[in-house]
Amino acid sequence: MTSVSPRTAGGSRRERREWLLFAALIGPNLALFAIFTYWPLLYNLYLSFVRWNFLRPRKPFVWLDNYIEVFTDTQFWIIALNTLTFTVCSVGLTLLIGLALALLINQPLRYRNAARAVLFSPVIMSGAVVAVVWSYIFDPRYGLLDQILGFVGASSPDWLGDPRWAMPAVILVYVWKNVGYAVVIYLAGLQGIPRELYDAARVDGAGAVDRFWHVTLPGLSPVAFFLSVTSLLACFQSFDIVKVLTDGGPAIATTTLIYHLYDLGFVSYDAGKAGVMAMVLFGVMLALTVIQLRYVEERVAYA
């Protein structure tokens, strides 16, 4: 492969060969993304400007009508608010409970690896099946939750049928399924905080609470940031749980943007509005990611 030719000429030839190899190695991956991810994105962009019900032969161009219709629909704003509630609560609770559990499991207790495994196990279960299982647990008469609430003398609300309780129910399932992921990441972060920092703090006379605030938390912040961004993106896209657990109902109490997209496309067969929703979703995801990149750059600059 490597020839002993003059450095300049050979270098550029070698360089070009490297380019080719680069293209060959990464090409299939990019080509598949081009066909199955970016092309659909563009197709949705096109659809967002036409009126089409997936059946009619013609797709008249309607300029921004679909956008106007989507954004002037009061239901859309309720759904956007639902999404905000769902995402913020789910991610917030996952991060908080995850942190508490990680701190607990970080103690040298026996069986902590087993506990970590149990906490993590829902993460790898299918979202659809988790939702099926929970729909049984939420059953107001025969379900597990009713049983548990019975111990404290309360009776179970109709979790999935009552608009006040359906969203909390969906959030509960989401947190249950994903908290193990946060635990594992936090644990890794905790392991990465140098012992010396704690020792130094102790020498300085810092109490346990001080050490938590001034050593543990700052040490965890990069990991926590990584977690919050990945969780936000994942949560924003989560579909299986809502689809199987509530179908976005009752009424639209648990309809999130991603479910709304599905609803417009596969239930209402409104390709144009579904295209608009696709653009909205992509825009939000893009914004979230750009914010992340900004932050990372800043952090690098700091260090």
Binding site: Y38, F49, L55, R56, P157, P250, A251, I252
Partner: protein, 482 residues
């Protein structure tokens, strides 16, 4: 094969030229509407290892695929029907392919039309067949029927006529049902009520006080249960609207959701749950009924066999209660043949439809499920007469049929109309929003949804060919003008 590689390359190119602009996108979007080579229809079957038919097909046999929506007990009955057909002759072999709920089947069929990967027979529900008709996607069956000597005059007229447009049959009744009032005889007896369904909703409200059990503020046993939107509350409410002398829409597609009588019916529904608190909105009425959580409900006749099997108590059924008058819609699903199915397969498909809706088959199907016998002559067969004697509940099903009528356009002809009304009812019942406001929204949405349907109807039912010829679309949409 060569064709495939060519397409791959084309696809790749399209994907790569990310900045290719709308022209390319539009070209691609239009492509699926063009008729594909006849062989394309076979593509899905050829690409996949298919399960062997029950009977080894004769070399000359035509194999056709049939997309349906039945699983569980109904699925078994459906599979038995297909098996009986395959064994009864050697010319046609049917492969039954379950596609999920009615909605999922319609989704699949929509996608398949885009991609030209269609089945040869498809089961379409009451709210779906019309959309495919206006899109020109399902074929008129009269010529085919005469070729297989099928006589439409023996079908239940109420059911058959719904699938007729401009004198042609498009949608043959198969798993047709009506709502039925189900009640738990055990709870009825404990409450000291007569062993029958209530005559009127007023009587039901009166009885309800004896049926409801409360645990503090929550209802532990309801007198009645409504299904949710996904379980077709708009279908069951259709009958109730008529009972209050209201309607969803006029036959000319003018929406009448804000008609005072329609609103009165909605107010009644809301009150049963929110004010008088004897009914609940259930995620699964069949489950809650057989589980004893509700003492009664309205549900499809198609669930009768399943409910009787699952219930630990004697099940009573009756006609729907009246309000100002009686009202009960038909429902369920029928069979259709896609327009672009090749002619030989169309004929084969028609043979299956004729078999599945024959006097004998209709009886077998009705007895094992609770769906209507779609043939008039079925009721006179000795098997059916004996069966009615032994199962009076099934007799009730058939007795109610002559009192039913076809549903309003708003639910069955407007695309997604069922879900629009259903979601509206959920808002009224679950969120407690005022019927006036919600149904005004629903009315507007339905009106908007009806516009393209009317446009399509005008094109397909009046001077369709002339218009298409002028716009140069005729060649591409040739099948519309047959």
């Amino acid at each position: 094969m060569e064709n495939t590689t060519k397409l791959t390359r084309r696809q790749m190119l399209r994907g790569m030229i990310a900045s290719g602009g709308v022209a390319i996108l539009a070209a691609c979007g239009a492509a699926p509407a063009a008729p594909a080579a006849p062989a394309a229809t076979d593509a899905p079957a050829a690409a996949a290892p298919t399960s062997a038919p029950a009977v080894a097909a004769a070399p000359s046999a035509t194999t056709i695929t049939y997309w349906g929506s039945f699983s569980g007990g109904l699925g078994e009955a459906e599979a038995a029907m297909v098996k009986a057909f395959n064994e009864s002759q050697s010319e046609v072999q049917v492969e039954y392919q379950f596609q999920g709920s009615y909605e999922e089947t319609a989704q699949k069929f929509t996608a398949a039309l885009q991609a030209n990967t269609i089945p040869d027979v498809v089961l379409l529900s009451d709210v779906w067949w019309f959309s495919f008709y206006t899109a020109g996607a399902i074929a008129p069956l009269d010529d085919l029927a005469s070729q297989v000597k099928l006589d439409f005059s023996d079908y239940e007229p109420v059911l058959l006529d719904e699938g007729v447009r401009q004198g042609k049959h498009y949608w043959v009744p198969f798993a047709r049902s009506t709502p039925l009032f189900y009640y738990n005889k055990q709870i009825w007896q404990e409450a000291g009520l007569p062993d029958r369904s209530p005559d009127t909703w007023a009587e039901m409200a009166d009885w309800a006080t004896k049926l409801v059990k409360k645990d503090g503020d929550t209802i532990s046993q309801a007198a009645f249960a409504h299904p949710n939107g996904a379980s077709y509350i708009a279908w069951l409410f259709q009958g109730v609207v008529w009972q209050f002398n209201g309607q969803y829409s006029n036959p000319d597609f003018t929406m009448t959701m804000t008609d005072p009588n329609t609103l009165r019916a909605a107010q009644f529904y809301q009150d049963t749950v929110n004010k008088d608190k004897w009914a609940i909105l259930s995620q699964d009425v069949n489950k809650d009924f057989t589980g004893g959580i509700t003492a009664s409900t309205m549900a499809s006749t198609g669930g009768l066999a399943g409910i009787q099997k699952a219930a630990a108590f004697p099940v009573g059924v009756g006609f729907l209660p009246k309000a100002d008058s009686f009202g009960c819609p038909t429902g369920g699903s029928g069979l259709a043949i896609p327009t672009s199915t090749p002619d030989d397969k169309k004929l084969a498909a028609m043979k299956y439809i004729a078999f599945a809706t024959s006097t004998e088959s209709a009886g077998v199907w009705a007895r094992s499920t609770g769906y209507m016998p779609v043939r008039l002559s079925t009721k006179e067969t000795p098997e059916m007469v004996t069966f009615f004697d032994e199962n009076p509940n099934f007799k009730t099903v058939v007795d109610q049929l002559p009192l039913t009528r076809a549903q309003d356009a708003a639910r069955v002809f407007v695309r997604n109309g069922d879900q629009i009304i259903g979601k509206g009812l959920e808002r009224i019942i679950v969120n407690g929003e005022s019927p006036d406001a919600v149904f005004a929204d629903v009315n507007a949405e339905l009106t908007k949804g009806a516009a393209p349907i009317l446009e399509d109807l005008k094109a397909i039912e009046a001077g369709a060919c002339a218009g298409l010829r002028r716009s140069g679309l005729r060649r591409r949409r040739r099948w519309r003008c047959r």
